[in-house]
């Protein structure tokens, strides 16, 4: 009985959390999509500023990681493919895995570490130092001022970063393809392109937009949930990272299943 109560309580907490995320996302969406037509100007400069921080700042580390992941994929794939004498399939294996799954996912993880945590820390610190209250007393909506630009920046930058990560992953795979599997560089690229369908790439990009929205919602929501005191900011930041990773995987699962049933019908 007590167990049932606990499961029920945890379920309710989880639902309340998702409800909170949805409310925050809806409010930020209102300020991005509806409010500009009701006389509230949408300030794109803040979104551009965020996009630079989220996107351009992440490029070096994202390039390196996705290049390595592409290389690892090629090596792992080759280990199995070799047994069947199908080493020339390594290019398509890397291409499909990167674009459909790992490109979006690695990008999301890097962005969670760099930006999701930073959102929580920024808003959390502002909460602790009463800056959020100050915004409100100045008749500036904290969601409009702080959250909407982050949503716009993330929804725009995640697909861009994902495209970049896909490319770097393919290049990583090419390194093995050329040095270990007897491909020429152009041959590897040709094999990659002929293996890919547009829907593989678009599916990954749609997922990456959803990841961006999820990461922003969690980071900002955790920031706003910060209680009093500096140690609370640390708690929010950690919670933002852990929850974002979990929810991104969950969203990934939902969309991957969706695509599976749509594509195989």
């Amino acid at each position: 009985m007590e167990l049932a109560g606990r499961i029920g309580g945890a379920t309710l907490d989880a639902l309340a959390y998702v409800g909170g995320l949805t409310r925050l996302g809806a409010r930020a969406g209102y300020f991005a999509l509806v409010a500009p037509f009701r006389g509230r100007a949408l300030r794109l400069d803040r979104a551009v500023h965020q996009a630079m921080a989220v996107g351009v700042g992440a490029l070096p580390i994202l390039s390196l990681i996705s290049f390595f992941i592409g290389l690892i994929l090629a090596l792992q794939g080759a280990y199995e493919l070799k047994k069947f004498g199908a080493l020339n399939f390594v290019a398509s294996a890397v291409a499909i895995t990167m674009t459909r799954e790992l490109g979006p996912l690695i990008t999301a993880v890097v962005v969670i570490g760099r930006s999701g945590s930073a959102f929580a820390a920024e808003i959390g610190t502002m909460k602790v130092t009463e800056e959020i209250d100050a915004l409100e007393t100045m008749a500036l909506d904290p969601v409009q001022f702080l959250v909407t630009p982050k949503f716009l920046a993330m929804a725009l930058m995640l697909p861009c970063l994902t495209t970049w990560a896909d490319t770097m992953g393919v290049l990583g795979g090419a390194l093995f393809g050329v040095t270990g599997a007897g491909f020429s560089f152009t041959g590897y690229m040709h094999a990659t392109l002929s293996a890919l369908f547009l829907r593989d790439i678009f599916g990954g990009l749609i997922k990456s937009v959803m990841f961006g929205v999820t990461i922003t919602a969690v980071g900002c929501y955790e920031g706003f949930r910060t209680g009093a005191g500096a140690e609370e900011v640390g708690r929010s930041t950690t919670a933002a990272v852990v929850t974002s990773i979990f929810l991104v995987i969950l969203v990934d699962l939902v969309f991957t299943s969706l695509f599976y049933f749509v594509e195989t019908r």
């Binding site: 130092t129 009463e130 209250d133 100050a134 409100e136 100045m138 008749a139 500036l140």
Partner: protein, 277 residues
Amino acid sequence: MNTSERDAEIPESNAREAIIVARDLRVNYGEREVLHGISFEVQRGETLVILGGSGSGKSTLLRSLVGLERPSGGEILVKGKDLAHAKLAEVEEVRKKMGMSFQGGALFGSMTVGENVALPLREHTALEDSTIQIMVRLKLELVGLAGFEHYVPSQLSGGMKKRAAVARAMAMDPEILFFDEPSAGLDPIIAAGIDNLILKLRKAFDITMVVVTHELASAFLIADRMVLIDKGNIVTIGTPAELKASEHPRVKQFLNRVAEPEVEGELNYLQMLTDDR
């Protein structure tokens, strides 16, 4: 003089205009009620000081007045608008006429002092950037921070941060200015400087001010009227002279800085402090 006697003395319609009216204001933190039905008015142009010990509910009262806490009962009318129930657009209109100086300044750390002061002007007016720059310079001059536009808040001392916060609160030429603990954490000389600044603003602009503090010297210097809050209730409201002459034991205890008499009482008091946020 207790709350009910004082309430009886405030007639329903005043000769002077009440710019803020609190009626039977109650605020809860979760289950716990921290303000137990507070009623008072702030007249246009006066400086009202809210006095009280730590955990008395005075900061909560201030936060309710500016609409940062939602009352669980009663109402607050600022310029005739009920902040808790009015439409967002109406609340924002009222808020543009209010300025608030927070305890730690609450300046935006990612912006310079000048950008902090310019922010409400940029967001709420259609002024040209050059005009805004001039206004920022004027406001900073007003608080004695001329030439500090390009400093970031972390480069300022505690007293300068508070001055910058006042400049930002004054940016939209407010009718009401709220101060949360203006002299807390400052040395006596800097604190006296902030008091003088408040007096100067009062004299120059005829602004209504609501100041929360526990610094007695500062309170008696700047107040037209004072409210003493204790454990979420109003102990008394009156002019500084009336408070000094009061025979109310709690007022005397607070003004003469007498410690809580019994150990048990003190423990309860400490318990209350730790309970409070």
